[in-house]
C-alpha cells in the first residue's frame, strides 16, 4: 500500500500547538482521513480548527497563566520600545547628514529597531512558552501575538490621528515586520532561541 505524505507544515504546526492529550493519535486520525482522499485544504482546515479550539480551552483552563504571560510580554515590549526609541533618537540627532540621506536613514533605522524589538520579545516569548509543558505553550504564544498586534494597532491609530498621510507607509512597514514577528515567534516558541531547562525542572 502506498501512502501519500500529509502536508508537513500542517502536521508540524499541529504537533507544536495542539494541547489535546495523546496528540499523536490526533495526527493519526488526520493522516488516516487524508489517505482516504481528503485534500490538503481539508487537512489544513482541520488542523487550524483543532488548534483554535485547543487555544480557547487552554485559555479558559489557564486564565492566570494567560494574564501573567500577557502582562509580562507587554512589560518587556514597552521597556524595549522606550529604551530603543531613546537610544535611536539620541544617535540620530548626533549624526550629521543631508536631509535626503536622513529621509532614507530614518525609516531604515526604525525598521532595524522594530526587528530588534521583535527578536528580543520573540525570544523571550519562546523561552516563556518552552519552560512550560507543550499543553500551555499556546497560551504564551497567543499572549505574545496579542501584544504585537495590539501594539501595532495602537501605533497605527495614533499616527492616523496626527499624521494621516504617513499611515500608508507605516502600515507597509508593519506588514513587513509582522510576518517576521510570526516567524520569530514560531522559532522562539519551538526552542530555536530558548534555553530549555531539563524536564525535571519544568514548571507544571
Amino acid at each position: 500500500m502506498t501512502l501519500k505524505p500529509a502536508p508537513r507544515a500542517a502536521t508540524w504546526f499541529l504537533r507544536q500547538f495542539d494541547s489535546t492529550p495523546e496528540n499523536e493519535s490526533v495526527v493519526g486520525d488526520l493522516f488516516e482521513q487524508y489517505q482516504r482522499g481528503r485534500g490538503s485544504i481539508w487537512y489544513w482546515r482541520q488542523v487550524l480548527a483543532i488548534v483554535i479550539v485547543s487555544l480557547f480551552r487552554e485559555i479558559q483552563g489557564n486564565k492566570r497563566k494567560f494574564l501573567v504571560g500577557l502582562v509580562r510580554t507587554w512589560c518587556v515590549w514597552a521597556v524595549l520600545t522606550s529604551l530603543l526609541s531613546v537610544v535611536a533618537m539620541v544617535q540620530i540627532t548626533r549624526i550629521e547628514m543631508s536631509p535626503e540621506l536622513r529621509q532614507v536613514f530614518l525609516p531604515g533605522m526604525l525598521l532595524i529597531l522594530s526587528v530588534l524589538k521583535l527578536l528580543a520579545v520573540g525570544a523571550y516569548s519562546g523561552h516563556s512558552s518552552n519552560i512550560y509543558p507543550r499543553t500551555t505553550r499556546l497560551v504564551f504564544v497567543t499572549s505574545y501575538a496579542l501584544v504585537v498586534i495590539g501594539s501595532t494597532a495602537v501605533k497605527l491609530l495614533t499616527i492616523a490621528q496626527h499624521q494621516p498621510t504617513a499611515v500608508g507607509i507605516m502600515a507597509i512597514r508593519e506588514l513587513v515586520t509582522l510576518p517576521l514577528a510570526a516567524a520569530i515567534l514560531l522559532i522562539g516558541g519551538t526552542g530555536g532561541l530558548s534555553l530549555v531547562p531539563p524536564p525535571g525542572k519544568r514548571k507544571a
Binding site: 500500500m1 501512502l3 499523536e24 493519535s25 490526533v26 482521513q33 489517505q35 479550539v53 485547543s54 480551552r57
Partner: protein
C-alpha cells in the same frame, strides 16, 4: 453532594455516537457517525474538544489502541462510555422526553 454534570447538545451527540459505535469508537468514527445521522459536517477539533470535556467529567474513558500502518504508525485513541456516562445519557433522554410530551406545536410534523 457533588453537582450532577450536564451535557451540551454536541456532547450528547458525541456520547450517543460512542454508544452507537460500541467498541472501537475513535475521533474519525465519532465524527463520521454524527455526520451521517445529522447530515452536517463535523470538525474533528470539535469532537476532540468534546471528548476531552466528557473525559474530565468522568462520563467516558479512553485507551490507546495499536499503531497501524494506514495511520502512519500512529495509534488510535479509543473511547467508551462509563456507567456514570450511560446513566446521565438515560436521565437526559427521560428529561427531554418529558419536555417533548404534550407539545401541540410539535405534533404532526408541522413547523
Amino acid at each position: 453532594m457533588a453537582a450532577q454534570p450536564t451535557l451540551s447538545n454536541f456532547e450528547l451527540m458525541v456520547m450517543l455516537a460512542i454508544i452507537r459505535i460500541g467498541d472501537g469508537a475513535y475521533g474519525v468514527s465519532i465524527s463520521d457517525e454524527i455526520e451521517e445521522t445529522t447530515g452536517s459536517e463535523v470538525l474533528l477539533g470539535s469532537v476532540y474538544d468534546a471528548v476531552s470535556r466528557l473525559e474530565e467529567k468522568g462520563l467516558i474513558e479512553s485507551s490507546l489502541g495499536e499503531a497501524t500502518p494506514e495511520r502512519g504508525g500512529r495509534a488510535k485513541r479509543h473511547f467508551r462510555t462509563t456507567s456514570k456516562g450511560l446513566r446521565l445519557v438515560r436521565e437526559t433522554q427521560q428529561s427531554l422526553v418529558k419536555l417533548w410530551k404534550g407539545l401541540p406545536q410539535l405534533k404532526g410534523g408541522e413547523a
